[in-house]
């Protein structure tokens, strides 16, 4: 009743997996809607690639259920599952030409020559690789191999396409371009994509939904802006968009704004609808771009000393050291900033720019 009728093309139920007694997946429940672009985001070792391999049938789960269009495929070998994979290393067959690589799945299924001809041509056209049919993978650049790998995996029109860090080996510029092209391709085809990455920027740019994984569990899932604006845990806040995480004690709550006391000053954050008891230990997350800096103390602010700046990706990162040794990273567009290293400053932000995280009831 909740399978394909619910619009779920793929469902994972309580998937568990151990390697040599070490749990890698600790009960993954995940539903993916038809045509959705879902990103599994997490640091290395969080289990994201294992989930992908389990869906593809390349790794057997210890427990749990996998439903593809409402039908259990957990016992099916990879060749029987209507999903295809774009491997991190591309895994193009080195002894075959581009054409033979893309045609492989059709040849296996005994598709006749004329249809093969048409479909391979279309697939290569789709990834703008026509003209390279006779080349071997060794003669292609990284980006071109990537395109061929995508064409090869889409030739069978899979229900779900699994992509394992497909852009990981490409340089930044090419990666950005491929992000855009992949997203466009996914929208054109309407194919369900499950995309694995450790790059939060990639996840935010491409996904309909981000699933943040940590230690074999789903930490939080939601639309990119949801995850970005309303992280539920300090881990998500730090991992997605590198927010600053600060600890304090609740003073009071008024008009949805929670006031906190900390060793470095007073802070505030938007309450998330849950009552706050005075004296309760709280954690808040605030992003570097939302932190203001002032030479004079304000009513609600914390004090720190400016450290050496660094400039990266069009952004200036200004670390401000707090009295207890912790750092708050402030970010600014451009290269100009008017506080010198060593200067004592006061940091402040709007209450609605900070969120309370790690509240167990919210998890």
């Amino acid at each position: 009743m909740e399978n394909s009728e619910s619009g779920m093309i793929l469902e994972l139920r309580n998937i568990t997996k151990e390697y040599d007694g070490v749990p890698v997946l600790r009960g993954i429940d995940l539903g993916v809607r038809e045509g959705e672009f879902v990103t599994l985001l997490g640091a290395s070792g969080c289990g994201k690639t294992t989930i992908l391999r389990i869906i593809a049938g390349l790794t057997e789960p210890d427990g749990g259920e996998i439903l593809l269009q409402g039908r259990s495929v957990v016992d099916d070998p990879p060749e029987k599952r209507d999903v295809n994979t774009v491997f991190q290393s591309y895994a193009l067959f080195p002894h075959m030409t581009v054409w033979q690589n893309v045609a492989y799945a059709l040849k296996i299924r005994g598709i006749d020559k004329r249809e093969t001809e048409l479909r391979v041509h279309d697939a290569l056209d789709m990834v703008q690789m026509t003209g390279s049919e006779k080349k071997t993978p060794a003669q292609l650049s990284g980006g071109q191999r990537q395109r061929v790998a995508i064409a090869r995996s889409l030739i069978n029109h899979p229900k779900v396409l699994l992509l394992d860090e497909p852009l990981g080996a490409l340089d930044l510029q090419l990666r950005r371009q491929m992000q855009y092209e992949l997203k466009k391709l996914q929208q054109q085809l309407g194919t369900t994509f499950i995309y694995v990455t450790h790059d939060q920027e990639e996840a935010i740019n491409m996904s309909d939904r981000i699933v943040v994984l940590r230690g074999g569990r789903i930490e939080q899932q939601g639309a990119p802006n949801d995850i970005y604006d309303r992280p539920l845990t300090s881990y998500v806040a730090k991992f997605v968009g590198s927010a600053n995480v600060l600890h304090g004690t609740a003073v009071r709550e008024q008009d949805g704004v929670v006031l906190l006391r900390s060793p470095y000053g007073t802070m505030h954050a938007a309450g998330n609808g849950r009552p706050v008891a005075p004296g309760e230990a709280l954690t808040l997350a605030v992003r570097g771009e939302n932190v203001g800096i002032s030479q004079e103390p304000l009513d609600v602010c914390i004090q720190g000393v400016v450290d050496a700046n660094s400039f990266a990706g069009g952004m200036l990162r200004i670390p401000v050291r707090l009295p207890d040794g912790n750092e708050v990273i402030i970010t600014r567009q451009g290269i100009h900033f008017d506080a010198a290293p060593g200067e004592t400053v006061y940091l402040h932000w709007r209450a609605d720019a900070a969120v309370l995280v790690d509240r167990e009831a919210a998890l």
Partner: protein, 282 residues
């Protein structure tokens, strides 16, 4: 220009090869056209008699027998060695070390001694027959020793490690993600093996074939020891002519024809399998 001096380091090797490999070969070729002179060795006079002599059916049979044995040895080695090398390549690191060790152990003993071991195993009242008789598989001892099967067993035994290690090396280097990709694209395990694994490890199998075929064309002492006097290979013939027969020019001619035959077959083999990976081998 200084950059080009590197060849100076290799020059001694080339010089050595030139003197001690090319030299003897040229000498052999020259001698093969000389005339035999009973008692005194040979006379430097151009003649084709040595080659003409080989048209004798006795010698033709000798060549045919050698070729047949070499082909059978190579085929059996491939059939046994490929699966062995394949599964060896899929073992854990520890397993690989143990199996490599076990393959190497026999090399610590002289191959001659090991052949005498085979005599003990294969003779009429030997270990194999005793075992088969006791188990009731046979009623009277098999006459394996001093027969073609005994020689074949000995040849396969002697050359199998080369096939195994050649296959193992290429299986070791295999990128198994490719097999996963093939399965992902719809290939059954057997289909993935045939289209990907076998094709990717073919260079190993090919070098294994060469490593076993070339020596098996010339190995003669196995046939001498395990075959009695029944199977006379070109190798034995050459040895015989060099020593007891005392016809050095004929021995040289036989060796030249054998080498030419082997080269021709390898060339044909390469053409048929259509691979260029082994380009540098001959």
């Amino acid at each position: 220009m200084k950059k080009d001096r590197w060849w100076l380091c290799i020059a001694p090797l080339y010089a050595f090869t030139l003197v001690f490999v090319l030299g003897p070969v040229l000498y052999m070729v020259t001698v093969s056209f000389a005339q035999n002179e009973a008692g005194t060795g040979f006379r430097w006079a151009f003649s084709l008699d040595n080659f003409a002599k080989m048209r004798d059916p006795v010698y033709i049979r000798c060549f045919r027998e050698s070729l047949r044995l070499a082909l059978a040895t190579t085929a059996l080695n491939a059939l046994i060695g490929y699966p062995f090398g394949y599964f060896m390549g899929r073992l854990s690191e520890r397993g690989k070390r143990i199996v490599t060790f076990l393959i190497m152990v026999p090399f610590w003993t002289s191959s001659l001694i090991r052949l005498y071991g085979w005599i003990i195993l294969l003779q009429a009242k030997g270990t194999l027959n005793t075992l088969l008789l006791r188990l009731g598989f046979i009623d009277e001892p098999l006459k394996i020793l001093y027969s073609y099967p005994a020689v074949l067993i000995g040849m396969v035994y002697a050359l199998l490690p080369f096939m195994i290690l050649a296959v193992y090396t290429s299986v070791e280097k295999m990128d198994w993600t490719l097999v996963e990709a093939a399965r992902d694209l719809g290939a059954s395990p057997a289909r993935a093996f045939l289209t990907i694994t076998l094709r990717m490890t073919l260079p190993g199998l090919m070098s294994g074939v060469i490593l076993t075929f070339v020596p098996s064309m010339g190995l003669f002492f196995i046939a001498d020891i395990l075959g009695g006097n029944k199977i006379v290979l070109v190798g034995s013939l050459i040895q015989d002519q060099m020593t007891r027969g005392g016809n050095q020019p004929f021995a040289a001619a036989l060796a030249l024809v054998l080498a030419a035959m082997t080269t021709l077959l390898l060339w044909l083999y390469r053409r048929l399998t259509g691979t260029s990976e082994l380009e540098g081998m001959f």
